[in-house]
Amino acid sequence: MAAGVSILHGETSYRYRKFKSDSMMAITVGATILTLIPLFLVLGYLLFKGFSSLNWAFFTHMPAPVGEKGGGMANAIVGTLEVVGIASLMGVPIGVGAGLYLAANRARQFTNWVRFSADVLMGVPSIVIGIFAYAIVVRPFGGFSALAGSVALAAMMVPLVARTTEEMVLLVPPELREASLALGVPNWRTTLSVVARTALSGIATGVILAIARVAGETAPLLFTAFGNRFWSTSLFHPINTLTVQVYTYAISPFQDWQRQAWAGAVVLTGIILTLELGVRWVTGGGTKTPR
Protein backbone atom coordinates (compact mmCIF):
# COMPACT_ATOMS: atom_id res chain seq x y z
CA MET A 1 0.00 0.00 0.00
CA ALA A 2 1.84 3.00 -1.26
CA ALA A 3 -0.62 5.29 0.45
CA GLY A 4 -0.05 3.69 3.85
CA VAL A 5 3.72 3.81 3.49
CA SER A 6 3.77 7.46 2.62
CA ILE A 7 1.67 8.26 5.69
CA LEU A 8 3.96 6.33 8.04
CA HIS A 9 7.06 8.03 6.76
CA GLY A 10 5.43 11.40 6.55
CA GLU A 11 6.98 11.96 3.14
CA THR A 12 4.30 14.18 1.74
CA SER A 13 2.09 16.63 3.50
CA TYR A 14 -1.61 15.99 3.75
CA ARG A 15 -2.33 19.24 1.97
CA TYR A 16 -0.27 18.17 -1.03
CA ARG A 17 -1.92 14.76 -1.17
CA LYS A 18 -5.34 16.28 -0.80
CA PHE A 19 -4.56 18.75 -3.56
CA LYS A 20 -3.32 15.95 -5.82
CA SER A 21 -6.42 13.89 -5.10
CA ASP A 22 -8.75 16.78 -5.83
CA SER A 23 -6.98 17.61 -9.08
CA MET A 24 -7.08 14.03 -10.28
CA MET A 25 -10.76 13.85 -9.50
CA ALA A 26 -11.31 17.15 -11.31
CA ILE A 27 -9.49 15.62 -14.30
CA THR A 28 -11.94 12.71 -14.40
CA VAL A 29 -14.83 15.17 -14.43
CA GLY A 30 -13.06 17.08 -17.20
CA ALA A 31 -12.65 13.86 -19.19
CA THR A 32 -16.37 13.17 -18.90
CA ILE A 33 -17.26 16.65 -20.08
CA LEU A 34 -14.73 16.40 -22.93
CA THR A 35 -16.27 13.08 -23.97
CA LEU A 36 -19.78 14.44 -23.96
CA ILE A 37 -18.81 17.45 -26.11
CA PRO A 38 -18.66 15.45 -29.38
CA LEU A 39 -22.04 13.92 -28.53
CA PHE A 40 -23.61 17.33 -28.21
CA LEU A 41 -21.70 18.67 -31.22
CA VAL A 42 -22.81 15.80 -33.46
CA LEU A 43 -26.40 15.99 -32.27
CA GLY A 44 -26.31 19.78 -32.43
CA TYR A 45 -25.09 19.83 -36.01
CA LEU A 46 -27.63 17.20 -36.93
CA LEU A 47 -30.46 19.28 -35.55
CA PHE A 48 -29.11 22.53 -36.98
CA LYS A 49 -28.12 21.30 -40.46
CA GLY A 50 -30.52 18.40 -40.73
CA PHE A 51 -33.76 20.08 -39.78
CA SER A 52 -33.12 23.10 -41.97
CA SER A 53 -32.57 20.71 -44.89
CA LEU A 54 -35.64 18.60 -44.20
CA ASN A 55 -38.71 19.26 -46.26
CA TRP A 56 -41.74 17.45 -47.53
CA ALA A 57 -40.05 16.59 -50.83
CA PHE A 58 -37.37 14.70 -48.92
CA PHE A 59 -39.93 12.12 -47.80
CA THR A 60 -42.05 11.98 -50.95
CA HIS A 61 -39.73 12.52 -53.91
CA MET A 62 -37.20 10.36 -55.69
CA PRO A 63 -33.56 11.45 -55.97
CA ALA A 64 -33.14 14.18 -58.57
CA PRO A 65 -30.90 13.51 -61.60
CA VAL A 66 -27.20 14.34 -61.13
CA GLY A 67 -26.60 18.06 -60.90
CA GLU A 68 -30.26 18.96 -60.59
CA LYS A 69 -31.56 20.49 -57.38
CA GLY A 70 -34.33 19.12 -55.21
CA GLY A 71 -35.57 15.61 -54.96
CA GLY A 72 -35.67 13.40 -51.91
CA MET A 73 -34.97 10.00 -50.52
CA ALA A 74 -38.40 8.35 -50.66
CA ASN A 75 -36.97 5.20 -52.23
CA ALA A 76 -34.16 5.03 -49.67
CA ILE A 77 -36.60 5.26 -46.75
CA VAL A 78 -38.73 2.46 -48.18
CA GLY A 79 -35.56 0.50 -49.02
CA THR A 80 -34.25 0.74 -45.46
CA LEU A 81 -37.59 -0.48 -44.10
CA GLU A 82 -37.60 -3.37 -46.57
CA VAL A 83 -34.00 -4.50 -46.03
CA VAL A 84 -34.17 -4.20 -42.24
CA GLY A 85 -37.63 -5.80 -42.15
CA ILE A 86 -36.57 -8.84 -44.13
CA ALA A 87 -33.34 -9.11 -42.12
CA SER A 88 -35.48 -9.20 -38.97
CA LEU A 89 -37.76 -11.89 -40.43
CA MET A 90 -34.67 -14.03 -40.99
CA GLY A 91 -32.54 -13.08 -38.02
CA VAL A 92 -35.00 -12.81 -35.13
CA PRO A 93 -36.45 -16.37 -35.19
CA ILE A 94 -32.97 -17.89 -35.54
CA GLY A 95 -31.61 -15.69 -32.78
CA VAL A 96 -34.48 -16.29 -30.36
CA GLY A 97 -34.46 -20.07 -31.01
CA ALA A 98 -30.71 -20.27 -30.54
CA GLY A 99 -30.97 -18.16 -27.38
CA LEU A 100 -33.60 -20.52 -25.95
CA TYR A 101 -31.28 -23.43 -26.68
CA LEU A 102 -28.31 -21.72 -25.03
CA ALA A 103 -30.31 -20.95 -21.90
CA ALA A 104 -31.78 -24.46 -21.65
CA ASN A 105 -28.58 -26.43 -22.25
CA ARG A 106 -26.00 -24.56 -20.26
CA ALA A 107 -24.00 -27.55 -19.12
CA ARG A 108 -23.09 -28.83 -22.58
CA GLN A 109 -19.77 -28.25 -24.28
CA PHE A 110 -21.67 -27.56 -27.51
CA THR A 111 -23.38 -24.60 -25.82
CA ASN A 112 -20.01 -23.12 -24.95
CA TRP A 113 -18.91 -23.38 -28.55
CA VAL A 114 -22.09 -21.71 -29.80
CA ARG A 115 -21.80 -18.95 -27.22
CA PHE A 116 -18.18 -18.44 -28.16
CA SER A 117 -19.10 -18.24 -31.86
CA ALA A 118 -21.83 -15.72 -31.13
CA ASP A 119 -19.40 -13.55 -29.16
CA VAL A 120 -16.79 -13.74 -31.90
CA LEU A 121 -19.41 -12.94 -34.55
CA MET A 122 -20.39 -9.81 -32.63
CA GLY A 123 -16.78 -8.66 -32.87
CA VAL A 124 -16.44 -9.40 -36.59
CA PRO A 125 -16.30 -6.13 -38.56
CA SER A 126 -19.51 -5.50 -40.45
CA ILE A 127 -17.65 -5.07 -43.73
CA VAL A 128 -16.41 -8.65 -43.43
CA ILE A 129 -20.03 -9.79 -42.97
CA GLY A 130 -20.73 -7.84 -46.17
CA ILE A 131 -18.09 -9.83 -48.05
CA PHE A 132 -19.67 -13.02 -46.72
CA ALA A 133 -23.11 -12.00 -48.03
CA TYR A 134 -21.48 -11.09 -51.32
CA ALA A 135 -19.95 -14.57 -51.52
CA ILE A 136 -23.08 -16.54 -50.65
CA VAL A 137 -25.83 -14.39 -52.25
CA VAL A 138 -24.57 -11.77 -54.71
CA ARG A 139 -22.23 -14.02 -56.64
CA PRO A 140 -24.48 -17.10 -56.96
CA PHE A 141 -27.53 -14.97 -57.86
CA GLY A 142 -25.52 -12.97 -60.34
CA GLY A 143 -26.01 -9.45 -59.04
CA PHE A 144 -26.45 -7.00 -56.17
CA SER A 145 -29.83 -7.40 -54.48
CA ALA A 146 -31.98 -6.30 -51.56
CA LEU A 147 -31.94 -9.94 -50.42
CA ALA A 148 -28.14 -9.94 -50.14
CA GLY A 149 -28.31 -6.81 -47.98
CA SER A 150 -30.92 -8.44 -45.75
CA VAL A 151 -28.79 -11.58 -45.38
CA ALA A 152 -25.82 -9.47 -44.29
CA LEU A 153 -27.88 -7.58 -41.70
CA ALA A 154 -29.57 -10.79 -40.51
CA ALA A 155 -26.16 -12.37 -39.94
CA MET A 156 -25.34 -9.41 -37.69
CA MET A 157 -28.64 -9.65 -35.80
CA VAL A 158 -28.50 -13.38 -35.00
CA PRO A 159 -25.70 -13.34 -32.41
CA LEU A 160 -27.04 -10.14 -30.79
CA VAL A 161 -30.56 -11.51 -30.45
CA ALA A 162 -29.34 -14.95 -29.33
CA ARG A 163 -27.19 -13.56 -26.52
CA THR A 164 -29.83 -11.15 -25.19
CA THR A 165 -32.49 -13.86 -25.36
CA GLU A 166 -30.22 -16.19 -23.38
CA GLU A 167 -29.59 -13.53 -20.73
CA MET A 168 -33.28 -12.68 -20.45
CA VAL A 169 -34.39 -16.31 -20.18
CA LEU A 170 -31.83 -16.92 -17.45
CA LEU A 171 -33.49 -14.15 -15.42
CA VAL A 172 -36.73 -16.16 -15.29
CA PRO A 173 -36.96 -17.86 -11.87
CA PRO A 174 -36.48 -21.64 -12.24
CA GLU A 175 -39.44 -22.19 -9.90
CA LEU A 176 -41.79 -21.00 -12.64
CA ARG A 177 -40.46 -23.60 -14.99
CA GLU A 178 -40.58 -26.32 -12.36
CA ALA A 179 -44.15 -25.42 -11.44
CA SER A 180 -45.24 -25.73 -15.05
CA LEU A 181 -43.43 -29.03 -15.55
CA ALA A 182 -44.93 -30.34 -12.31
CA LEU A 183 -48.40 -29.64 -13.66
CA GLY A 184 -47.59 -31.97 -16.52
CA VAL A 185 -47.05 -29.36 -19.18
CA PRO A 186 -44.57 -30.73 -21.72
CA ASN A 187 -41.14 -29.19 -21.84
CA TRP A 188 -41.58 -27.41 -25.17
CA ARG A 189 -44.81 -25.77 -24.08
CA THR A 190 -43.27 -24.80 -20.77
CA THR A 191 -40.37 -23.17 -22.58
CA LEU A 192 -42.57 -21.32 -25.06
CA SER A 193 -45.59 -20.28 -23.04
CA VAL A 194 -44.13 -19.95 -19.54
CA VAL A 195 -40.40 -19.25 -19.78
CA ALA A 196 -40.23 -17.34 -23.09
CA ARG A 197 -43.43 -15.50 -22.28
CA THR A 198 -42.12 -14.32 -18.93
CA ALA A 199 -38.96 -13.13 -20.63
CA LEU A 200 -40.90 -11.66 -23.54
CA SER A 201 -40.39 -7.98 -22.75
CA GLY A 202 -36.67 -8.53 -22.30
CA ILE A 203 -36.43 -10.51 -25.53
CA ALA A 204 -38.41 -7.82 -27.38
CA THR A 205 -36.04 -5.18 -26.00
CA GLY A 206 -33.06 -7.14 -27.31
CA VAL A 207 -34.72 -7.54 -30.70
CA ILE A 208 -35.48 -3.82 -31.00
CA LEU A 209 -31.94 -2.86 -29.97
CA ALA A 210 -30.56 -5.31 -32.56
CA ILE A 211 -32.81 -3.74 -35.21
CA ALA A 212 -31.60 -0.29 -34.21
CA ARG A 213 -28.01 -1.48 -34.42
CA VAL A 214 -28.26 -2.91 -37.96
CA ALA A 215 -30.46 -0.11 -39.31
CA GLY A 216 -27.47 2.23 -38.98
CA GLU A 217 -25.09 -0.06 -40.88
CA THR A 218 -23.61 1.12 -44.15
CA ALA A 219 -20.51 -0.97 -44.79
CA PRO A 220 -22.15 -4.38 -45.38
CA LEU A 221 -24.72 -2.80 -47.72
CA LEU A 222 -22.22 -1.16 -50.08
CA PHE A 223 -21.71 -4.28 -52.17
CA THR A 224 -24.84 -6.27 -51.27
CA ALA A 225 -27.90 -4.00 -51.56
CA PHE A 226 -25.59 -1.59 -53.42
CA GLY A 227 -27.93 1.40 -53.84
CA ASN A 228 -30.27 2.38 -56.61
CA ARG A 229 -31.35 5.80 -57.82
CA PHE A 230 -34.67 4.46 -59.02
CA TRP A 231 -37.70 2.96 -57.39
CA SER A 232 -37.32 -0.68 -56.45
CA THR A 233 -39.05 -2.93 -53.99
CA SER A 234 -37.94 -6.15 -55.63
CA LEU A 235 -35.92 -8.53 -53.50
CA PHE A 236 -33.67 -9.45 -56.39
CA HIS A 237 -32.60 -6.02 -57.55
CA PRO A 238 -30.28 -3.44 -56.02
CA ILE A 239 -32.12 -1.21 -53.58
CA ASN A 240 -31.41 2.14 -51.98
CA THR A 241 -31.05 2.49 -48.23
CA LEU A 242 -30.78 5.62 -46.11
CA THR A 243 -27.28 4.88 -44.87
CA VAL A 244 -25.80 4.20 -48.32
CA GLN A 245 -27.60 7.24 -49.72
CA VAL A 246 -26.23 9.48 -46.96
CA TYR A 247 -22.76 8.06 -47.61
CA THR A 248 -22.86 8.70 -51.38
CA TYR A 249 -24.34 12.17 -50.95
CA ALA A 250 -21.87 13.14 -48.21
CA ILE A 251 -18.81 12.40 -50.35
CA SER A 252 -20.34 13.95 -53.49
CA PRO A 253 -19.19 17.37 -54.70
CA PHE A 254 -22.72 18.81 -55.02
CA GLN A 255 -23.89 21.17 -52.29
CA ASP A 256 -27.52 20.23 -52.67
CA TRP A 257 -26.63 16.57 -52.20
CA GLN A 258 -24.55 17.39 -49.13
CA ARG A 259 -27.54 19.29 -47.75
CA GLN A 260 -29.69 16.21 -48.33
CA ALA A 261 -27.08 14.02 -46.66
CA TRP A 262 -27.66 16.02 -43.46
CA ALA A 263 -31.41 15.60 -43.87
CA GLY A 264 -30.95 11.84 -44.36
CA ALA A 265 -28.65 11.69 -41.33
CA VAL A 266 -31.17 13.42 -39.08
CA VAL A 267 -33.94 11.03 -40.17
CA LEU A 268 -31.69 8.00 -39.70
CA THR A 269 -30.39 9.09 -36.30
CA GLY A 270 -33.94 10.04 -35.32
CA ILE A 271 -35.20 6.53 -36.07
CA ILE A 272 -32.31 4.83 -34.27
CA LEU A 273 -32.31 7.03 -31.19
CA THR A 274 -36.10 6.71 -30.94
CA LEU A 275 -35.76 2.93 -30.93
CA GLU A 276 -32.85 2.90 -28.45
CA LEU A 277 -34.20 5.58 -26.14
CA GLY A 278 -37.79 4.37 -26.37
CA VAL A 279 -36.86 0.84 -25.38
CA ARG A 280 -34.60 1.95 -22.54
CA TRP A 281 -37.18 4.37 -21.28
CA VAL A 282 -39.85 1.65 -21.25
CA THR A 283 -37.57 -0.89 -19.53
CA GLY A 284 -36.12 1.62 -17.08
CA GLY A 285 -32.71 1.95 -18.69
CA GLY A 286 -31.36 -1.29 -17.27
CA THR A 287 -30.99 -3.25 -20.48
CA LYS A 288 -27.78 -3.34 -22.42
CA THR A 289 -27.21 -5.36 -25.54
CA PRO A 290 -23.97 -7.25 -25.67
CA ARG A 291 -21.56 -5.64 -28.08
Binding site: G4, T32, V114, P125, I129, N187, G216, T218, L268, R291
Partner: protein
Protein backbone atom coordinates in the same frame (compact mmCIF):
# COMPACT_ATOMS: atom_id res chain seq x y z
CA UNK B 1 -34.93 -32.08 -16.92
CA UNK B 2 -35.35 -34.90 -14.42
CA UNK B 3 -39.12 -34.66 -14.76
CA UNK B 4 -38.96 -35.03 -18.50
CA UNK B 5 -36.65 -38.01 -18.28
CA UNK B 6 -39.05 -39.84 -15.97
CA UNK B 7 -41.91 -39.25 -18.37
CA UNK B 8 -39.92 -40.69 -21.19
CA UNK B 9 -40.43 -44.12 -19.64
CA UNK B 10 -44.21 -43.96 -20.02
CA UNK B 11 -45.25 -45.25 -23.41
CA UNK B 12 -48.69 -43.54 -23.46
CA UNK B 13 -47.07 -40.12 -23.23
CA UNK B 14 -45.88 -40.44 -26.83
CA UNK B 15 -47.24 -37.27 -28.47
CA UNK B 16 -45.80 -35.11 -25.75
CA UNK B 17 -42.40 -36.69 -26.29
CA UNK B 18 -42.61 -35.99 -30.01
CA UNK B 19 -43.37 -32.33 -29.31
CA UNK B 20 -40.31 -32.09 -27.10
CA UNK B 21 -38.18 -33.84 -29.68
CA UNK B 22 -39.25 -31.50 -32.44
CA UNK B 23 -38.70 -28.48 -30.21
CA UNK B 24 -35.27 -29.61 -29.06
CA UNK B 25 -34.21 -30.44 -32.58
CA UNK B 26 -35.40 -27.05 -33.86
CA UNK B 27 -33.65 -24.97 -31.22
CA UNK B 28 -30.56 -27.18 -31.53
CA UNK B 29 -30.32 -26.58 -35.27
CA UNK B 30 -30.86 -22.82 -34.78
CA UNK B 31 -28.01 -22.79 -32.25
CA UNK B 32 -25.93 -24.87 -34.65
CA UNK B 33 -26.55 -22.24 -37.34
CA UNK B 34 -24.55 -19.71 -35.30
CA UNK B 35 -21.60 -22.09 -35.25
CA UNK B 36 -22.04 -22.69 -38.98
CA UNK B 37 -22.31 -18.96 -39.63
CA UNK B 38 -18.86 -18.33 -38.16
CA UNK B 39 -17.38 -21.39 -39.87
CA UNK B 40 -19.06 -20.50 -43.18
CA UNK B 41 -17.83 -16.93 -42.93
CA UNK B 42 -14.23 -18.06 -42.48
CA UNK B 43 -14.45 -20.73 -45.18
CA UNK B 44 -16.10 -18.37 -47.69
CA UNK B 45 -13.38 -15.77 -47.17
CA UNK B 46 -10.56 -18.30 -47.52
CA UNK B 47 -12.20 -19.87 -50.59
CA UNK B 48 -12.84 -16.56 -52.35
CA UNK B 49 -9.41 -15.14 -51.62
CA UNK B 50 -7.65 -18.37 -52.63
CA UNK B 51 -6.58 -17.08 -56.10
CA UNK B 52 -4.77 -14.19 -54.40
CA UNK B 53 -3.33 -16.39 -51.66
CA UNK B 54 -1.95 -18.79 -54.30
CA UNK B 55 -0.62 -15.98 -56.49
CA UNK B 56 1.11 -13.84 -53.88
CA UNK B 57 1.59 -16.13 -50.89
CA UNK B 58 2.99 -14.53 -47.76
CA UNK B 59 4.50 -11.79 -49.90
CA UNK B 60 0.98 -10.28 -49.92
CA UNK B 61 1.38 -9.29 -46.27
CA UNK B 62 4.69 -7.45 -46.71
CA UNK B 63 4.35 -5.98 -50.18
CA UNK B 64 3.60 -2.28 -50.47
CA UNK B 65 2.47 -2.44 -54.10
CA UNK B 66 -1.22 -1.86 -54.58
CA UNK B 67 -1.59 -1.52 -58.31
CA UNK B 68 -4.85 -2.93 -59.72
CA UNK B 69 -3.91 -1.90 -63.26
CA UNK B 70 -0.83 -4.13 -63.26
CA UNK B 71 -2.47 -6.77 -61.07
CA UNK B 72 0.01 -6.25 -58.25
CA UNK B 73 -1.44 -6.46 -54.76
CA UNK B 74 0.15 -5.99 -51.37
CA UNK B 75 -1.56 -5.43 -48.03
CA UNK B 76 1.15 -3.64 -46.08
CA UNK B 77 -0.05 -0.03 -46.63
CA UNK B 78 -3.50 -1.01 -45.34
CA UNK B 79 -2.21 -3.04 -42.40
CA UNK B 80 -0.03 -0.05 -41.53
CA UNK B 81 -2.95 2.37 -41.90
CA UNK B 82 -5.21 0.16 -39.79
CA UNK B 83 -2.72 -0.09 -36.95
CA UNK B 84 -1.64 3.55 -36.95
CA UNK B 85 -5.19 4.94 -37.07
CA UNK B 86 -6.25 2.52 -34.31
CA UNK B 87 -3.19 3.44 -32.27
CA UNK B 88 -3.99 7.17 -32.50
CA UNK B 89 -7.55 6.34 -31.49
CA UNK B 90 -6.36 4.37 -28.44
CA UNK B 91 -3.90 7.07 -27.33
CA UNK B 92 -6.74 9.60 -27.28
CA UNK B 93 -9.56 7.31 -26.14
CA UNK B 94 -7.98 5.28 -23.33
CA UNK B 95 -7.12 8.12 -20.90
CA UNK B 96 -10.45 9.83 -21.58
CA UNK B 97 -12.39 6.58 -21.14
CA UNK B 98 -10.60 5.82 -17.87
CA UNK B 99 -11.42 9.34 -16.70
CA UNK B 100 -15.07 8.88 -17.62
CA UNK B 101 -15.22 5.46 -15.95
CA UNK B 102 -13.63 6.73 -12.72
CA UNK B 103 -15.87 9.78 -12.72
CA UNK B 104 -18.99 7.64 -13.16
CA UNK B 105 -18.02 4.95 -10.65
CA UNK B 106 -16.14 6.91 -7.96
CA UNK B 107 -17.13 10.55 -8.21
CA UNK B 108 -20.67 11.01 -9.38
CA UNK B 109 -23.61 10.23 -7.11
CA UNK B 110 -25.42 7.11 -8.28
CA UNK B 111 -28.36 8.84 -9.95
CA UNK B 112 -26.10 11.19 -11.89
CA UNK B 113 -23.59 8.46 -12.75
CA UNK B 114 -26.26 6.32 -14.37
CA UNK B 115 -27.62 9.23 -16.38
CA UNK B 116 -24.22 10.31 -17.59
CA UNK B 117 -23.40 6.69 -18.41
CA UNK B 118 -26.56 6.59 -20.45
CA UNK B 119 -25.48 9.71 -22.35
CA UNK B 120 -22.09 8.16 -23.07
CA UNK B 121 -23.83 5.00 -24.27
CA UNK B 122 -25.83 7.19 -26.64
CA UNK B 123 -22.57 7.97 -28.41
CA UNK B 124 -22.38 4.29 -29.34
CA UNK B 125 -25.86 4.35 -30.86
CA UNK B 126 -25.15 7.08 -33.42
CA UNK B 127 -24.60 5.41 -36.80
CA UNK B 128 -21.12 5.30 -38.24
CA UNK B 129 -22.15 7.15 -41.41
CA UNK B 130 -23.40 10.07 -39.31
CA UNK B 131 -20.03 10.30 -37.54
CA UNK B 132 -18.43 10.22 -40.98
CA UNK B 133 -20.66 13.02 -42.24
CA UNK B 134 -19.86 15.15 -39.20
CA UNK B 135 -16.15 14.36 -39.49
CA UNK B 136 -16.07 15.35 -43.16
CA UNK B 137 -17.82 18.68 -42.72
CA UNK B 138 -17.01 19.76 -39.16
CA UNK B 139 -14.19 17.87 -37.47
CA UNK B 140 -11.84 17.55 -40.45
CA UNK B 141 -11.78 21.27 -41.33
CA UNK B 142 -11.48 22.12 -37.62
CA UNK B 143 -8.45 19.84 -37.24
CA UNK B 144 -6.91 21.38 -40.34
CA UNK B 145 -7.38 24.96 -39.15
CA UNK B 146 -6.89 24.72 -35.40
CA UNK B 147 -5.00 21.55 -34.52
CA UNK B 148 -2.61 20.73 -37.32
CA UNK B 149 -0.90 24.18 -37.55
CA UNK B 150 0.08 24.29 -33.85
CA UNK B 151 1.17 20.63 -33.97
CA UNK B 152 3.33 21.41 -36.99
CA UNK B 153 4.72 24.54 -35.32
CA UNK B 154 5.63 22.95 -31.99
CA UNK B 155 6.37 19.35 -32.93
CA UNK B 156 7.17 19.85 -36.60
CA UNK B 157 10.70 18.48 -36.13
CA UNK B 158 9.08 15.04 -35.74
CA UNK B 159 8.25 13.32 -39.04
CA UNK B 160 4.69 12.65 -37.79
CA UNK B 161 3.73 16.29 -37.88
CA UNK B 162 5.17 17.32 -41.21
CA UNK B 163 3.40 17.57 -44.52
CA UNK B 164 0.37 19.25 -46.02
CA UNK B 165 -2.42 20.38 -43.73
CA UNK B 166 -5.56 18.91 -45.20
CA UNK B 167 -8.90 17.97 -43.71
CA UNK B 168 -8.68 14.29 -44.62
CA UNK B 169 -5.91 11.99 -43.48
CA UNK B 170 -4.62 9.70 -40.80
CA UNK B 171 -5.14 12.19 -37.96
CA UNK B 172 -8.79 12.82 -38.86
CA UNK B 173 -9.41 9.07 -39.06
CA UNK B 174 -7.73 8.46 -35.70
CA UNK B 175 -9.72 11.23 -34.03
CA UNK B 176 -13.12 10.10 -35.30
CA UNK B 177 -12.21 6.54 -34.29
CA UNK B 178 -11.33 7.78 -30.81
CA UNK B 179 -14.74 9.45 -30.46
CA UNK B 180 -16.44 6.28 -31.67
CA UNK B 181 -14.64 3.83 -29.35
CA UNK B 182 -14.74 5.89 -26.13
CA UNK B 183 -18.27 4.70 -25.23
CA UNK B 184 -17.25 1.05 -25.61
CA UNK B 185 -14.11 1.32 -23.48
CA UNK B 186 -15.63 3.56 -20.82
CA UNK B 187 -18.78 1.46 -20.54
CA UNK B 188 -16.81 -1.75 -19.86
CA UNK B 189 -14.40 0.06 -17.50
CA UNK B 190 -17.29 1.57 -15.54
CA UNK B 191 -18.78 -1.90 -15.09
CA UNK B 192 -15.40 -3.26 -14.02
CA UNK B 193 -14.84 -0.49 -11.44
CA UNK B 194 -18.37 -0.84 -10.09
CA UNK B 195 -17.74 -4.47 -9.12
CA UNK B 196 -14.62 -3.64 -7.11
CA UNK B 197 -15.69 -4.66 -3.60
CA UNK B 198 -16.53 -1.79 -1.28
CA UNK B 199 -14.34 -3.37 1.42
CA UNK B 200 -11.34 -2.85 -0.85
CA UNK B 201 -12.05 0.88 -0.97
CA UNK B 202 -12.77 1.10 2.75
CA UNK B 203 -9.48 -0.63 3.56
CA UNK B 204 -7.52 1.94 1.55
CA UNK B 205 -9.42 4.83 3.12
CA UNK B 206 -8.90 3.36 6.60
CA UNK B 207 -5.14 3.41 5.99
CA UNK B 208 -5.45 7.12 5.43
CA UNK B 209 -5.50 7.19 1.66
CA UNK B 210 -6.99 10.17 -0.10
CA UNK B 211 -9.63 9.49 -2.72
CA UNK B 212 -7.11 9.43 -5.56
CA UNK B 213 -4.72 7.19 -3.58
CA UNK B 214 -7.64 4.86 -2.95
CA UNK B 215 -8.40 4.75 -6.69
CA UNK B 216 -4.76 4.21 -7.56
CA UNK B 217 -4.01 1.54 -4.99
CA UNK B 218 -7.31 -0.28 -4.60
CA UNK B 219 -9.62 0.31 -7.54
CA UNK B 220 -7.39 0.34 -10.63
CA UNK B 221 -5.14 -2.64 -9.74
CA UNK B 222 -8.21 -4.70 -8.85
CA UNK B 223 -9.86 -3.97 -12.19
CA UNK B 224 -6.69 -4.05 -14.27
CA UNK B 225 -7.43 -7.17 -16.34
CA UNK B 226 -10.92 -5.86 -17.02
CA UNK B 227 -9.49 -2.54 -18.14
CA UNK B 228 -7.08 -4.29 -20.50
CA UNK B 229 -9.99 -6.36 -21.82
CA UNK B 230 -11.94 -3.14 -22.40
CA UNK B 231 -9.03 -1.61 -24.29
CA UNK B 232 -8.83 -4.69 -26.49
CA UNK B 233 -12.56 -4.48 -27.18
CA UNK B 234 -12.06 -0.85 -28.19
CA UNK B 235 -9.10 -1.80 -30.37
CA UNK B 236 -11.23 -4.45 -32.09
CA UNK B 237 -13.87 -1.82 -32.83
CA UNK B 238 -11.26 0.56 -34.19
CA UNK B 239 -9.68 -2.07 -36.45
CA UNK B 240 -13.01 -2.98 -38.03
CA UNK B 241 -14.67 0.42 -38.21
CA UNK B 242 -15.30 1.16 -41.85
CA UNK B 243 -17.53 3.92 -43.11
CA UNK B 244 -16.53 6.85 -40.94
CA UNK B 245 -12.87 6.06 -41.60
CA UNK B 246 -13.41 5.56 -45.33
CA UNK B 247 -14.97 9.03 -45.46
CA UNK B 248 -12.14 10.94 -43.80
CA UNK B 249 -8.90 8.99 -44.25
CA UNK B 250 -8.38 10.10 -47.86
CA UNK B 251 -7.84 6.65 -49.37
CA UNK B 252 -4.31 6.48 -50.55
CA UNK B 253 -2.31 3.27 -50.58
CA UNK B 254 0.93 4.76 -49.30
CA UNK B 255 2.96 4.44 -46.15
CA UNK B 256 4.06 7.78 -44.78
CA UNK B 257 5.22 8.82 -41.34
CA UNK B 258 3.20 12.03 -41.65
CA UNK B 259 -0.11 11.83 -39.79
CA UNK B 260 -1.54 14.63 -41.90
CA UNK B 261 -1.30 12.73 -45.17
CA UNK B 262 -4.09 10.60 -46.65
CA UNK B 263 -3.87 6.90 -45.95
CA UNK B 264 -6.15 3.86 -46.03
CA UNK B 265 -7.13 0.99 -43.74
CA UNK B 266 -8.02 -2.63 -44.49
CA UNK B 267 -11.70 -1.88 -44.00
CA UNK B 268 -11.75 1.46 -45.82
CA UNK B 269 -10.09 0.12 -48.98
CA UNK B 270 -12.59 -2.74 -49.16
CA UNK B 271 -15.46 -0.27 -48.78
CA UNK B 272 -14.06 2.03 -51.44
CA UNK B 273 -12.92 -0.42 -54.08
CA UNK B 274 -14.99 -3.59 -53.75
CA UNK B 275 -18.00 -2.55 -55.82
CA UNK B 276 -15.71 -1.29 -58.59
CA UNK B 277 -13.26 -4.17 -58.61
CA UNK B 278 -13.20 -5.41 -62.19
CA UNK B 279 -10.89 -8.41 -62.39
CA UNK B 280 -11.22 -11.65 -60.45
CA UNK B 281 -7.75 -11.22 -58.94
CA UNK B 282 -8.68 -7.71 -57.74
CA UNK B 283 -11.77 -9.07 -55.95
CA UNK B 284 -9.74 -11.95 -54.50
CA UNK B 285 -7.09 -9.54 -53.21
CA UNK B 286 -9.75 -7.35 -51.56
CA UNK B 287 -11.34 -10.43 -49.98
CA UNK B 288 -7.93 -11.46 -48.70
CA UNK B 289 -7.70 -8.06 -47.01
CA UNK B 290 -11.03 -8.93 -45.39
CA UNK B 291 -9.59 -12.27 -44.29
CA UNK B 292 -6.60 -10.52 -42.68
CA UNK B 293 -9.03 -8.23 -40.87
CA UNK B 294 -11.18 -11.17 -39.75
CA UNK B 295 -8.18 -13.05 -38.35
CA UNK B 296 -6.99 -9.93 -36.49
CA UNK B 297 -10.42 -9.39 -34.95
CA UNK B 298 -10.95 -13.04 -33.98
CA UNK B 299 -7.52 -13.13 -32.32
CA UNK B 300 -8.28 -9.94 -30.38
CA UNK B 301 -11.68 -11.27 -29.35
CA UNK B 302 -10.19 -14.46 -28.00
CA UNK B 303 -7.66 -12.52 -25.92
CA UNK B 304 -10.23 -10.03 -24.63
CA UNK B 305 -12.64 -12.83 -23.82
CA UNK B 306 -10.02 -14.72 -21.86
CA UNK B 307 -9.20 -11.59 -19.84
CA UNK B 308 -12.79 -10.52 -19.17
CA UNK B 309 -13.71 -14.10 -18.34
CA UNK B 310 -10.87 -14.16 -15.83
CA UNK B 311 -12.37 -11.12 -14.08
CA UNK B 312 -15.84 -12.63 -14.04
CA UNK B 313 -14.60 -15.90 -12.61
CA UNK B 314 -12.69 -14.10 -9.89
CA UNK B 315 -15.76 -12.08 -9.08
CA UNK B 316 -17.80 -15.28 -8.97
CA UNK B 317 -15.39 -17.00 -6.61
CA UNK B 318 -15.29 -14.07 -4.26
CA UNK B 319 -19.04 -13.60 -4.05
CA UNK B 320 -19.44 -17.36 -3.76
CA UNK B 321 -17.45 -17.50 -0.51
Amino acid sequence: MAVVRRERAKPHEGPRLIGDRIFNLTTFSLALSILLLLAGLTIALIYDSYPAIRQFGLHFLVSTDWDPVNEQYGALPFIYGTFVSSFIALIVAVPLSLGVALCLSEMAPEWLGHRLGFLVDLLAAIPSVVYGLWAVFVMGPWLRDHVEPPLAAWLGFLPFFQGPKVAVGMLSAGMILAIMIIPYISSVCTDVFRVVPQSQREAALALGATKWEMVRTAVIPYGMTGVIGAIIVGLGRALGETIAVAMVIGNSAQISASLFKPSATLASVIANEFAEATSDMYVAALIELGLVLLILCIALNVVARALVLGVQQRRYHETGK
